[in-house]
């Protein structure tokens, strides 16, 4: 039945258009990867030869490695804390009869609606007024704001998909509410939450608009490092750094596909 819905002349036109648009989506990433192995000293097209020297240069660069570690640690910390804040909140909205739940849910998801650039600037102003100078903590707080709505949304969807009758069966059979939650509800939530956390991790790992306000000379997240390199480096090592970030993204997509399937992870 599904295949019948996209067949004949209309189907052919749709497939052809879709393939052309996919080419448009892949082109900028493919060009970067192609230039990252070029033997030329400038990142210009067409690439020539094949070398992994630019990757060696990037990986041996202390500043790159430091930025990579900073980005990973911030993303891990922000995702973990978002989970600690978001799980009880989403659970409360779903199961406990909280008044004006709609308003609270909107507030929890609002960092997604507000321009991130302004969220970051507002934080910068707050931190300078209150003399909070530790960039690592400031970055962490900023990244929690970015990741929290994604975590809350994923957990809310996962909670809605939980089979309530199983929980009721556990209660009827004599389990305490806490035991029923831990042994019956949580195992049903885990795949969805894991996928949500992975996505939130990538949102933080790739973030630029928050980090550009809150980073300092010591704590330079990877996207900021890359952006700064663009103005001073013109060799393919930038393409190599970018390719490593593309690789991280591909690994994340594979992870999402393996955990719950890409369509469910994206809510399609």
């Amino acid at each position: 039945m599904t295949s019948a819905r996209l067949s004949g002349g209309g189907g052919f036109v749709t497939y052809t258009a879709a393939m052309a648009i996919l080419l448009f989506i892949v082109a900028p990433l493919a060009v970067i990867v192609a230039l990252s192995v070029s033997e030329l000293n400038f990142a210009t097209f067409p690439p020539k030869g094949f070398t992994l020297a630019w990757y060696a240069k990037v990986l041996s660069d202390a500043a790159f490695r430091h930025s990579f570690v900073v980005s990973i640690l911030i993303a891990l910390g922000a995702t973990t804390i978002s989970l600690c804040l978001g799980l009880p909140a989403a659970y409360a909205l779903d199961r406990w009869k909280v008044p004006s739940a709609g308003v609270i849910r909107t507030l929890l998801l609002s960092p997604m609606i507000l321009p991130i650039l302004i969220t970051g600037l507002a934080l910068l102003k707050l931190f300078s007024q209150t003399r909070m100078r530790d960039a690592s903590i400031n970055l962490l707080i900023g990244h929690i704001l970015v990741t929290l709505p994604y975590v809350v949304r994923t957990i809310t969807v996962s909670l809605e998909l939980v089979d309530r009758t199983l929980e009721e069966a556990a209660l009827t059979l004599g389990a305490s509410p806490v035991r029923a939650f831990v042994r019956v509800t949580v195992p049903q939530l885990v795949p969805g939450i894991a996928a949500g956390c992975l996505f939130a991790f990538m949102i933080s790992f790739d973030d630029y608009p928050i980090s550009m306000w809150l980073g300092d000379a010591e704590y330079v997240p990877l996207p900021v490092y890359l952006h700064d390199s663009l103005t001073r480096l013109f060799d393919p090592s930038i393409a190599a750094t970018s390719s490593l970030m593309i690789l991280t993204g591909i690994l994340a997509v594979v992870g999402l596909e393996k955990i719950v399937g890409l369509r469910r992870a994206m809510g399609v």
């Binding site: 609606i113 302004i118 102003k125 973030d207």
Partner: protein
Amino acid sequence: MTLASTADQSMANAKPRRGRQALRVSIGMILLLPALGFLLVFLVIPSLSLLSASVLTQSGSGDIGLPVTFANYDRLLFSSAYQKVVLRTMSISVWTSLISIVLAYPLAMVIAYGRPSLSRLTMVLVVAPLVVSVIVRCYGWQLLLGNNRAGVLNWLIALVFRNRATIKLMYTEWAVIIASVHVFLPLIVLPIATSLARINPSLVEAARMLGAPPWRAFLRVTLPLSVPGLTAGVTIVFALTASSFVTPQMLGGTNASMLGILLEQQAMTVFDWPMTGAIASVMVAIALCSNAASTWIIGLLTRRGQLGGRK
């Protein structure tokens, strides 16, 4: 108000219902407290402080206080230099949204109705760029659109047409629009695909059996039924393009500056906090208005019951 939904649970112990209700509410509030407290301290208060500076006056020493003034909004919206940036931001966002709609439908159709293998491939290629930093993607567009022969597009043109003419797209509004479409396209494809997947297939079959050609069945049946996903997607694309910083900064240069660029200059170079607040308020207003409009349209359609086949 929620007694009806808890009635089945509390049937056995009807007497302590009121007390249990209060207990449920307080436990719920305790669970919500950490997240709400965090948002209050680090989102609500700082944002209000930033936005409220827009109607205040900055003294020579940099202190912000009374008197209240609307001069910054007046300057932003009506002086020609600033007004140009506001209008350009709107026009870039509108073009990005329109092009995204056209490009999103074929991809969403393949994801929702295509052969499983192609649907899967499309889904992977649509989602993958979403988890690649916007800096990387804009760098890719810099390489593609470069104004001299080193740009991939110009290299291709030279290869195919063998002439010396080069197209100069880099540092124009169109470079920003092209990159913005690329950056935000996944965010409109996914909601449209969700809407399409929910359409009852027999509606399209009925149209076809009654003699409608495929394009007509698409325009009269599929397209109207996918409006909820379309509305949600267009809202996201429009709002995010209007508040973007990286794409105009990396591809627009000085010729295609947008509100986000203006915001950064006023905050980090000019240190004019009231003007920064005014720009931020306009950007927040654009985001909130487009969200309110989309919620209203989707609500209207749902009430009219046009969303046949929706769960």
